[in-house]
Amino acid sequence: MAEKERGGLDRMLVRITHLDRLLNLVGEVIITSNSIATTNRRIQEYYDRGATLDKMSIDMIKVVEESSSRISGDLHSLVMDIRMVEIKGTFQRFRRPVRDMAKEAGKNVELITFGEETLVDKTISEKLYDPINHQVRNAIDHGIEDPLERQRMGKPAIATLTLKAYQLENFIFLEISDDGRGMDPDVIRKHAVDRGLIGSDDAQKLPNEEILKFIYHPGFSTKTYASEISGRGVGMDVVKNNIEELGGEVMISSIVGEGTKFTYKIPQVTAVNILDCLTVRAGKNLYAIPILNVVSTLLVNVAKTNLAFDKGRTITYLGSIITLYDLNELLGEKPLETSDEVTVVIVEAKNGRIALIVSELLTPEKLVYTPLEKIFKVQGISGVTMMGANKMGLIIDVVELINRSKGIAVGEAVDEREALIRKSLESASREEPLVEPIIKKEDEEDQQEADAEKGKVLSSDIGREISHREEFLMELEEMINSAGENVLSLERNPADNELINKSFRDFHSIKGNLMMVGLTELGAFIHDIEGIMDRAREGAISLDSNIIDILLDATDTLKDARLSLIKNQAPVISADLIRSLAKYKKPVEKKTAEFVDVHQRTFRLGPLAQFNLLARRHSGQFIYQLYLSFQPQYQQPFLVALLILRRLTRIGHIFGSVPSIEEIESQNIGSQIKLMFSSNLDEGKVRAWIEKYLVKNYDVTEYEIIKTG
């Protein structure tokens, strides 16, 4: 729900090249299915004749088999590629919060990102937001010192918070580091002992990096204790759980006085329901064990296993003792027939390592699996899959299986964890309430009044009905993010011309797109924002912190507006914002609003005769005086005047005293043209031409033509 609120739509943009690849594959599927049909017919013929299959037929079958297996492989990797997004989007979502949190905490923090181009699965990128957010908040609230303290320590006044991503083999690494005060293992050690989490002797023996891990312990620290241990304990267990849900782990390193670094290591494959599995048979049942969890497979002579007290049989593997279980028995099925030699699969997860007896090892496979619905949930099984020859197989959840081996039930633990996650989300979502208060119909008016009191203006338009609304909203999100990003960069480099231009273009495009779908009120507001950037571009104003705040508020307004539009509600524009914006608007000099922009942009036309009319100029034998009156419905009159003049150059040459734009304006003849032109066409033809081409299409209401020579 919270993800939906933030991310908006359950959709993603797909690169055209990917679609092209997909189309190619579809082509290949068609070809392959055709050749299956051909092969089938051929086999049928042979069968009908009672003949033995020839080599050709066998080869054909082979070719079909090979190409279908290649196509499915290609399809899989394509789907994985399509789901990949740059981590950039996730990183950028922190620019604004970091700025605001730092400001609020009275600290000076710069966010630096590396490896933004790292590709991660879309689902992973979404699930990373909460844990990162949590740690960024902790780092700013507690890890990073205030400017005075940093000065005392001889550290640079501006603290650095770094987000870094990279891929190594099949793992995504994500580092969140700060150059703050670091965590003191001795403080954590003492606290762990105080809370009875570990005996004081044991605590002394544990190395520092192990001690740091105590901050993951649920409820390890309280808020009052937080500052003493740099506050890293608050909700850290939730962070750890979130990452573990992705099949990953969190590592910590910290140096007192220098800073702390958290590293997430996340397997790249977990998000999609395609798993690399080792398939095994146990009695009549087929199981798939995720390859990630498989340590080794071996043949074990039962006579050589150890019978440990109270633990059943164990085997020794690379020097460590591992308990041996019958897979079927562990899952509550009929135990396997015993024999002297058994096949064993050693599996491992974060909660331990066990050895499983199976009947037979089958081939490793890539399997598409369906997660089991909660009500069908069996502890130790995460989903079902189809294995070769249409047999149903069960996917083993190794974590749960190991818990099962230890006699631990899942239910309670899960509930407790969910409650914690919920709690942490609630506290982390001050600005983004998880549950929107539902306003009942009869309360709506009150709400509007309340909004008005809070200085809000409800705009009335929700835009036109458009069929591609969701895509529009998605592109809008991209544009808003880019705009926000550029404004934050401008805050650091307010005089960077290229940035100013970029930012101008951002707001210009946003305005255009809003207008295009009929969101004219919001568009007009953004037009004013664009106007500020335009004035900055001209050097008329410099981007001080007041203006940056306005620009940031404008991007916030846009973000909220986008969320409102998703819910089909009219966007809200703050009256305060409009008021503070008014100060920076260029004073309107001209009487008619329509022409204001021409002057705001200091784009002045000389006499129309000098305007490039792309003339097919004629110097004609007849000279005419022309008077035209027109009433365009949707276009500005003086622009239509230009279009008409251009049109006229097709039959003649305009000359004499042609009014300039200023003249058109000052004489308030925005919808009138008076001019002279020469043409080779006689009067009748000129009239016919005007009737045919001008009257209907340019809304000409009246015209008069006088031949003067």
Binding site: S467, M479, H508, K511, G512, N513, M515, M516, F603, N612
Partner: protein, 127 residues
């Protein structure tokens, strides 16, 4: 909506897909065949290769903007007769002026009024 452009092609140039879709939908009702480009440069290449019957372009775009595109089309004797319509908002009169200066044949303010679109289509194709 009396005009039928069956057999005619319009090129739509805009850096945002949703904007291209919006215009495309309107143009399809005139039975125009639509081709798309994401910026002026891509548009120009397509115009040279496919010689569309008309061009609709956004103004502010990366790589090559609509103003430059107008200039390129109108300074090429082979392309000069292809009508170009620029899309803009009412508030951007200065851009439209520039575009007309650079040779644009007409303009459509956003949001596009279907009535005006019909009028503009007949203006640019009536000879």
């Amino acid at each position: 909506m009396s005009i039928d452009f069956t057999g005619k092609t319009a090129l739509v140039v805009d850096d945002y897909h949703s904007m291209r879709v919006a215009l495309k939908e309107l143009l399809l009702s005139y039975n125009l065949r639509i081709i798309e480009a994401q910026n002026g440069l891509e548009g120009l290449e397509i115009i040279r290769k496919k010689k569309p019957d008309m061009v609709f372009t956004d103004i502010v775009m990366p790589v090559m903007d609509g103003l430059e595109l107008c200039q390129e089309i109108k300074s090429d004797p082979e392309l000069l007769n292809i009508p170009v319509v620029v899309l803009s908002t009412h508030s951007d009169a200065a851009y439209i002026l520039k575009a007309i200066h650079n040779g644009a044949d007409d303009y459509l303010p956003k949001p596009i009024e279907p009535g005006l679109l019909t009028k503009v289509l007949s203006r640019i194709t009536d000879g």
